[in-house]
Symmetry: C2
Subunit: 561 residues, 2 copies
Amino acid sequence: MSLSATDITIFLLSLSVILFFARGFGELFRFINQPIVIGEIIAGIILGPTILGTLFPGTFNSLFNQSEEVVTALNGITLLGVVMLLLVSGIEIDLSLVLRQSKVAVAISLLGILFPFSVGFLSAFFFPEFLGLSDYNMRLVFALFVGTALSITALPVVARTLMDLQIFKSEIGYLIMAAAMFNDLVGWIIFSIVLGMIGQNSGHSLPLSSLVFVIIGFMIFVLIFVRKIINYSLPFIQKRFTFPGGVLNFIFILGFLGAAFTEYIGIHAIFGVFIVGIAIGDSVHLKEETREIIYQFVTNIFAPLFFVSIGLRINFIEHFDPLIVSVFLVLAFIGKVVGCSLGAYWGGMNKNDSLIIGFGMNSRGAMEIVLGTLAFQYGLIDEKVFVALVIMALVTSISSAPIMNYYLKKAKAILSFHSLLKSETIIFSSANSKNDVIKELCKTVAAYHNLDFNVVHNNVMKREETISTGLEKHLAIPHARMSIKDTIIAVAIVKDGIDWNSFDNLPAKFIVLLLTPEDKPEVQLKLLSDIAKKFNDIKEIENIIASKDAKELIYKVKQLY
Amino acid sequence: MSLSATDITIFLLSLSVILFFARGFGELFRFINQPIVIGEIIAGIILGPTILGTLFPGTFNSLFNQSEEVVTALNGITLLGVVMLLLVSGIEIDLSLVLRQSKVAVAISLLGILFPFSVGFLSAFFFPEFLGLSDYNMRLVFALFVGTALSITALPVVARTLMDLQIFKSEIGYLIMAAAMFNDLVGWIIFSIVLGMIGQNSGHSLPLSSLVFVIIGFMIFVLIFVRKIINYSLPFIQKRFTFPGGVLNFIFILGFLGAAFTEYIGIHAIFGVFIVGIAIGDSVHLKEETREIIYQFVTNIFAPLFFVSIGLRINFIEHFDPLIVSVFLVLAFIGKVVGCSLGAYWGGMNKNDSLIIGFGMNSRGAMEIVLGTLAFQYGLIDEKVFVALVIMALVTSISSAPIMNYYLKKAKAILSFHSLLKSETIIFSSANSKNDVIKELCKTVAAYHNLDFNVVHNNVMKREETISTGLEKHLAIPHARMSIKDTIIAVAIVKDGIDWNSFDNLPAKFIVLLLTPEDKPEVQLKLLSDIAKKFNDIKEIENIIASKDAKELIYKVKQLY
């Protein structure tokens, strides 16, 4: 069947309209610091039956619904788009980073999958009516799918958000990336099995046990053998063949082959191309130039075609079910944020950083859409659930950056003296020796923060014995590093003053006890210099010392900032 | 209509098989110094009904003939491939180079189109049966088509050949490129009109007069207004939008729009995208990085899909008609080589260089295939003519580099003394003054090369009067630059010797008259130093002087080389 002249005109016109709107909305969203992909999906909803199709059905139909041939050709391109997108996604995964994860990253990854998966699976299995199950026979598969849908994280969106927030290269950024990659990998394996299970009902798949065996066999084969072959072949291909033509072809040939294989065994093409992408991206011989050509062409030409096509399929208003959407949203947030944050917290991070990681991992973006599209095509979910999934993907992705930003600001604030001051740990003491004041401060801290007094006291005294912590202008900062998660500050005001062996021989009247986490030496330095810088005017310090209670003291200190 | 799992498997598998064979044969042809595109077309013939379809019809059918959906999807991709290929071809055209052509380039361009067009048109109009016309009502359109088909030159293949021969940056290379670009532009305009004429017969096109008006209007609009808008917008887009995503989208949106417009008015999509490509490529603001991403992705992924698809359509053995193929081949060679060579010769180049240009412009490669495919799709030509066109494109492209190389070697040889020696211009003189010998040499040369004796003599004497041309070791080289096309050499042996005011005071016995083209000062220097270097052993010179006739002298000189 070939395309008529009218078909070709419409086909090319619709491609340019799709790219135009995708870019327009993409840039609009980038402008308000949101991932471009969100704009692309919204462009599709606007061009699709939801908006254009409702307001101008004639225009919509003549552009996107003209003839079966155009639709099939567009489907072919869209398929190629998503296959290439997954190839790029695979190439971006750093396998060695995934394999040598730190304790925290493993905790985040595992809980970040297990918890949302359990939340999703149990909710969907026991209360399927709230999540829009249409065919009761599919309850188990549906529950598995919901679990997977909740536990997925969109690596490209996460990476983009981390870059926008300028924490891509930080410790937290690294942890999120490592966990998200692991997440992606495990998520797709589970989903491929779910797809295989659907395939069984429709009869065009291997028996489940063989399927799992084949999937795992395929992964091992590609990630071990093919990966090695790629790594050995790349230098040869780059040297002997036209560059970059040879290596570009090599990558796409392998990718399409992997895709064809997994499609053949009854799970979707994108799983195969994704795994092949990982094997390719892992080679140290893959040149940046090649990576860049594929990345730019695919993310800017093919990925938008796919993302816009989502909105073209469905009327989002007609199939909007507030209950299902709300349930998916709530489960998604609870599952992912709680799971990942708990993993981070148990892995040893403080509450604030744990929440940054939780919300960082919450973006479902591109990957959820891919997953939802497949489930919809396979008939596992209906329009309502699909719409709910897309909205959930959009909301989790859009909310990620602002919420992370909120906690990042808090994290920065944690590193300044005034925000750590608490009236409960400010004492007005009449002690008349250094040891007594320190003892009082340690008791206060130990009581308020549930710490062992002896441990605190010993640490502080050990530090105090090596060198006196008296500064100038009535200020003294006894301090210690301890195995705590968050920095702790306590203040003692001794109006009569205590000798603290200061540079300027003035007695210490404003005494700050500073306890910082053992594993973050930089925090101690930062706070010591922060305090020394802020308290450099003896008049102001005397004014603070003159405070009649903790509240007034905190007020006066905050004035300095 | 959506693709089933089997469709998707086959679709992806066929894509990877196509890319694999395209790359394999492409590299094979590159290895034997042929354009990669030849290998890609041959890969298609092998994968198509000609070889695979005949030997293993099962494999062929299951790969490329499985279901209508797969075929339609593949057609969509192939269409996108050829549209993108023409976009890249357009971008590569340097409009300002075309507009400020030298006299020679204009002569080459014009004759390089007019001559083959006339040859093709007249042959096809008066002897259509030898060129495979199937529908006698279409004789005029068919003749116009054959004219266009013969006058087209494949810019990308030409550029590739020039690079391989390392003359891309030379004067000849520049001339060929400028002429080929002009050729491409005019060729496509003519062809778009031919397509419009076919469209009229099938009824889905504007009346011819309006069509020509619209085509010219479209070209003026795009090449003047849109080109300016692009040039103004590019810096803005590159600065404000994501780079290179924004500019990549901009280029493809414009390209697809142009393509959709020309398809809409009844000529093919690729004409519009080609013109838009020219307008884009002309902007100084288009960055190399952007150009490279588009170029590499399109030429390595999409172009091969198109070129391989050629062979997939047709059985080349079944539809091979020796008469039609021979006629097309002969007309193609005669038309293009004679036309371009004449243009170059009349433009003032020598025979040898004119032939280099003629054969350089003879490559039909990619563009002929695009043209033939369209004519075939529009029903203007049948399988036999299509096969003849493809074979003609292959043979003209394959023969181009070796034949050019032959004449390039000759051109280099022209620049060495021994190859310019002719027994007719070697005299054994008994003159006893410098003036007499020079007079004798000039007479010989004037007679043999049909030059005016007085002009030659005056020029040589003028040079001789400024400074004596006597070298050491019996050698003297009187010389002049004149308005001639090729270098001319004559030799006089004066066994008794003549005083020539030499450095070593030895009398001149071996006197070389050297006339070089006025506009090539470097040739004179090259030859003077060449002769001085070779004749530096007095024993050898005396041996040559002792020659008893011209034949022996030439033999002895050649021994030195």
